[in-house]
């Protein structure tokens, strides 16, 4: 597993003049591949472009874009878990689903306004708890790492099977009907004062953009911190790391919980975007999507994963609209040949070659 890292760090240095302001801020560092003045100026430019989007793009495009952006948190969480911690989880959508349903139940019961905020907080809290509990079960049980993908997959399938059969009227929590296969409808959108964060107006768009910017920067800080180094060390040589005095299970658990929390955030955002959540959002197909986003993006680079996620979401949307029943074939071909052409991930490979053009190697 060392050849990718090799690339990581060498390119990492490539993109950074040592100890620049960004590194002092902690948002750049050896464990984030891309960085430095050029990176951050691009970051700023893109952010501005996105924020101003409604001025030059159609409202619908912005709303549609929101739908793609909603996938980013879960993907970034998985990038941290898989790319930095070396733990591949197929179960992120389980936390997506739990959060979505939890938000639905609480929001329906606690009503509009402040209620929805409480619901969001409650949902995220609950999801983090579940993630922590399951993570404890995985890591403190020292489950061997190649089983974890399947274990997490089983978790989501259990959840889907369960949710699918809650059509019965006995599955009612307060005012909220779980609704079985048809899903839970009429979930109120997040509201803050006069602002309503639904899928039909811009507030949600800006909320999501802000959240993603914060998450990206936050994760970069985490990755370059001492914590991040230990996590990376665990992925490279777990036993060695433990013999340096670290309880590696605790680090893995923390990362797993963060990833679960981020997946939950996506779930809540989805529920408030569509006023709706259904079992298929924790189904087999849904479960594979985050893995694909991260793999295509390049799991060692948060920025690449972010771009990859949005690009793939947009692509599948475009395919559905324009290519009709060829959508799956095209998507499949992209994944297949993409992985053959660029094993580290398509986006990261492209960005690397761009970076090489922009910055010449210090060594």
């Amino acid at each position: 597993m060392s050849s990718p890292d090799h690339a990581v760090v060498s390119t990492g240095r490539l993109a950074q003049s040592p100890h620049n302001v960004f590194q002092r801020l902690g948002i750049d560092g050896p464990l984030t591949i891309f960085g430095g003045p050029i990176y951050w100026s691009l970051f700023a430019l893109i952010l501005i472009a996105v924020v101003l989007f409604p001025l030059y793009g159609s409202t619908f495009a912005a709303l549609n874009f929101t739908n793609f952006l909603i996938n980013a948190p879960v993907a970034l969480g998985l990038a941290l878990l898989w790319g930095y911690c070396g733990v591949l989880s197929f179960g992120q959508v389980a936390f997506f689903g739990i959060a979505g349903y939890a938000y639905g139940v609480m929001a329906i019961n606690w009503g509009l306004g402040l209620g929805t905020l409480l619901a969001a907080a409650g949902a995220l809290g609950l999801t983090s708890l579940v993630a922590a509990a399951f993570g404890y079960f995985l890591f403190y049980g020292r489950v061997s790492s190649w089983i974890i993908p399947v274990l997490t997959l089983v978790l989501t399938l259990v959840l889907e099977t369960f949710l699918g059969q809650t059509a019965g009227l006995e599955w009612r929590i307060g005012q909220a009907q779980l609704g079985g296969f048809n899903g839970m409808t009429n979930i109120p959108s997040l509201t803050l004062g006069s602002l309503t964060f639904n899928g039909y107006s811009l507030p949600l768009f800006y909320l999501v953009v802000a959240l993603i910017a914060v998450i990206l920067i936050g994760l970069r800080v985490l990755a370059n911190s001492h914590f991040g180094h230990v996590v990376m060390a665990i992925q490279e040589d777990a036993e060695r790391t433990e013999l340096l005095g670290y309880d590696i299970r605790r680090y893995q658990l923390v990362v797993f919980t963060i990833a679960g929390f981020l997946a939950g955030l996506s779930g809540v955002l989805y529920a408030t975007w569509g006023n709706f959540i259904q079992p298929s959002s924790v189904g087999l197909l849904a479960a594979t999507l985050p893995v694909l986003w991260v793999a295509i993006g390049g799991r060692r680079s948060l920025s690449s994963v972010l771009i990859g996620t949005i690009a793939l979401s947009a692509l599948s949307d475009a395919l559905a609209v324009y290519s009709g029943d060829l959508a799956f074939v095209v998507m499949g071909a992209l994944l297949l040949f993409g992985m053959m052409a660029a094993p580290d991930g398509i986006v990261i490979t492209i960005l690397r070659s761009l970076a090489k053009l922009l910055v010449r190697r210090p060594l």
Partner: protein
């Protein structure tokens, strides 16, 4: 009473054989190549399609099954040569690639053959024991599953090829040093896995509706069985885990309904994996070893 017992036994056998057959191909590929093949379900689907189409073309069912096995096996060989072998260095990528492949295969089938194929009627009819009636065919399939396990055991432990395969599985470099053509072994193993998937599809074709997503029903059980079985000794693993899972799910589903059986199976899987993380086969082997070593140690 005896009727009920037979009924339970029958259901148990049917469950075990379903899990075993679903998992068989996957086990070979995972055990030999450490590749998680997400296109496994589509291989099964292609088996069902080949068999069904040939039956419609007038081929007798038995021949059709053999045909399906061979055809899918060859497809598997091609897939390994063109795609899978590029991913041995980076196995998790194989997972993404094979998922892409599965999308192409299933939707491609939809575009090629339409939303469904007319089914094949289940051969051999049924019989009655006590108050219940049963499908003979499913019993035959169950029997076949066990024969298959035995055949694989022979292949692995009684043939030169099998020795080479196990050598490659345990230590490729060493095997290569000993003059084993590992890359051919890999191709063969993947093809074998595909062929077994094809066989599974063909065998279950008469029991179900032939649609492009035929394979998806097999995926989850297959993975659960494989993982619980563990890599240490795939064959023992498959046998043990499918039996264990069926022991859990059969009574549940016959007592409290299929849903209970379903959930029971998955929870059992979670628990087993939590407490036996290396898979049943590992512990079985360890147990065997310990019994063998017991004498010298106690003698001291």
């Amino acid at each position: 009473m005896a009727g009920d017992l037979f009924n339970l036994a029958y259901q148990f056998l049917v469950n075990v054989s379903f899990l075993m057959l679903a998992a068989m191909g996957l086990i070979i590929v995972l055990g030999m190549l450490n590749i998680i093949n997400l296109a496994h379900g589509e291989f099964i689907m292609m088996g069902a399609y080949t068999a069904t189409l040939s039956v419609h073309a007038g081929v007798p069912f038995v021949v059709a099954v053999v045909l399906a096995t061979i055809v899918v096996g060859m497809i598997g060989a091609i897939v390994e040569l063109l795609i899978v072998r590029r991913f041995y260095a980076n196995k998790l990528n194989a997972l993404v690639a094979t998922f892409g492949l599965s999308l192409i295969l299933s939707q491609g089938t939809l575009l090629l053959f339409g939303p469904y194929l007319r089914g094949v009627s289940m051969p051999l009819g049924g019989f009655r024991v006590g108050q219940f009636s049963y499908a003979t065919y499913l019993l035959v399939v169950a029997g076949l599953a066990f024969v298959l396990i035995f055949a694989l055991w022979l292949l692995f432990y009684r043939t030169r090829l099998g020795v080479d395969m196990r050598a490659t599985m345990q230590n490729p470099d060493m095997a290569r040093a000993l003059g084993v053509n590992t890359s051919r072994i890999y191709t063969f193993s993947f093809a074998l896995g595909a062929a077994l998937a094809g066989l599974t599809g063909a065998l279950y074709a008469p029991t179900t509706t032939i649609v492009p997503l035929f394979g998806t029903a097999f995926i989850a059980p297959a993975f659960i069985t494989v993982v619980i079985g563990g890599g240490a000794n795939p064959l023992i693993g498959a046998l043990a885990s499918s039996s264990l899972l069926s022991v859990v799910s059969t009574p549940l589903s016959s007592q409290y309904g299929t849903f209970a059986g379903r959930i029971g199976l998955m929870l059992a899987a979670l628990v087993i994996m939590r407490f036996l993380p290396d898979g049943l086969s590992y512990y079985l082997q360890a147990a065997l070893l310990r019994r063998r070593k017991a004498r010298p140690e106690s003698s001291r």
